[in-house]
């Protein structure tokens, strides 16, 4: 066949089957992307753990340098400040308002459209 006309060549090109990829290719792509194991901690969890670790090290250093009385004094001061903050009605009211607003925003923003997409995706995958 000599493909004298452009249409003939176009038809032949579009009828050309795609190259068959190596069998393991899709698996290796999926393992590196969509099905990559999630990291054990999210960024915020890692930050939280870092803060807790730093405080622990600091408290241990306090104990090592000043002995048990200084440790308990420090712990007592931290506890007293926390208790003072939480016993204040204004502080509690603002804290409650902040949590309620965050919850309300998370219910009425992007989560709805995502759940619809999710339903369609599940339906398509037959799950």
């Amino acid at each position: 066949m000599t493909y004298d006309s452009s249409d003939e060549l176009d038809r032949a090109l579009f009828a050309l089957p795609l190259e068959e990829p190596p069998s393991e290719l899709r698996g290796s792509i999926l393992t590196a992307t969509a099905y990559r194991p999630a990291p054990p901690f999210s960024a915020w969890e890692a930050i939280g753990l870092g803060v807790i670790s730093a405080v622990t090290v600091w408290l241990l250093a306090v104990v090592a340098m000043g002995g048990a009385p200084l440790f308990f004094t420090t712990l007592g001061t931290i506890g007293r400040f926390t208790a003072d903050g939480l016993s204040n009605m204004y502080a509690l009211a603002w804290l409650g308002a902040g949590v309620a607003t965050a919850l309300w925003l998370s219910l009425f923003t992007s989560s709805q459209s995502i759940s619809l997409l999710r339903q369609r995706f599940d339906a398509q995958r037959g799950r």
């Binding site: 066949m1 000599t2 493909y3 004298d4 452009s6 060549l9 032949a12 090109l13 579009f14 009828a15 050309l16 089957p17 795609l18 190259e19 068959e20 990829p21 190596p22 290719l25 899709r26 290796s28 792509i29 999926l30 590196a32 992307t33 969509a34 099905y35 990559r36 992007s110 995502i114 997409l117 999710r118 369609r120 995706f121 339906a123 398509q124 995958r125």
Partner: protein
């Protein structure tokens, strides 16, 4: 794709909103076409496989830069095309020898003995095209007659794409008319 299937853009949105498994559907939709483009550009199975993996990995990592309303296929083809260009540059830089016209191993005598059917004849002719024509013909095959998208993938003006395509087809026709189109 049926009407219930999520569009590519929706799958991107889902992936970005914490459902990475949605990206698997995009991989299933495009891995063959992406590999095809990589293979036609690199003319080597190993390099094509590596470029395909690299392209999907890069796409997954930079999914936030995907513009809403853009075509995912154009985007992923552009990524794999640039990955192939980088590999070809490296190959040229580190090779003292002149690159062969075809990087693939030559087929054995038993392969040569098999009569060529039209599809194989066409593939061989495409492989014998210069790189810029080969890529434009491959994208024409993958993207259909959508010149604008081919231009986006290659980063070339649309007029240049049309000229390349015209010349590629002329070249291809000459190769196919020539009885010397063989697997050598």
């Amino acid at each position: 794709m049926t009407t219930n299937d999520p569009a590519d853009g929706e799958l991107v949105t889902m992936t970005l909103h914490g459902h990475p498994e949605a990206f698997a559907t995009l991989v299933e939709r495009y891995d063959r076409a992406v590999y095809h483009l990589a293979y036609r550009t690199m003319q080597n199975v190993e390099d094509a496989r590596d470029a395909t993996q690299e392209a999907f990995f890069k796409a997954f990592r930079s999914l936030r830069t995907f513009k809403p309303g853009a075509k995912f296929s154009t985007w992923i083809f552009a990524i794999v095309y640039h990955a192939c260009c980088d590999r070809l540059d490296r190959r040229k830089r580190y090779s003292n020898e002149e690159l062969p016209e075809r990087a693939d191993a030559t087929p054995g005598p038993e392969q040569q003995a098999i009569d060529l059917d039209e599809a194989r004849r066409l593939r061989i002719a495409i492989d014998q095209l210069p790189e810029k024509y080969r890529t434009v013909i491959t994208l024409y095959h993958l993207q259909g007659r959508q010149y604008e998208e081919i231009a986006q993938v290659l980063g070339l003006p649309m007029g240049t794409v049309k000229t390349h395509l015209f010349r590629a087809k002329e070249h291809l026709r000459k190769l196919l008319a020539n009885t010397e189109v063989t697997e050598s």
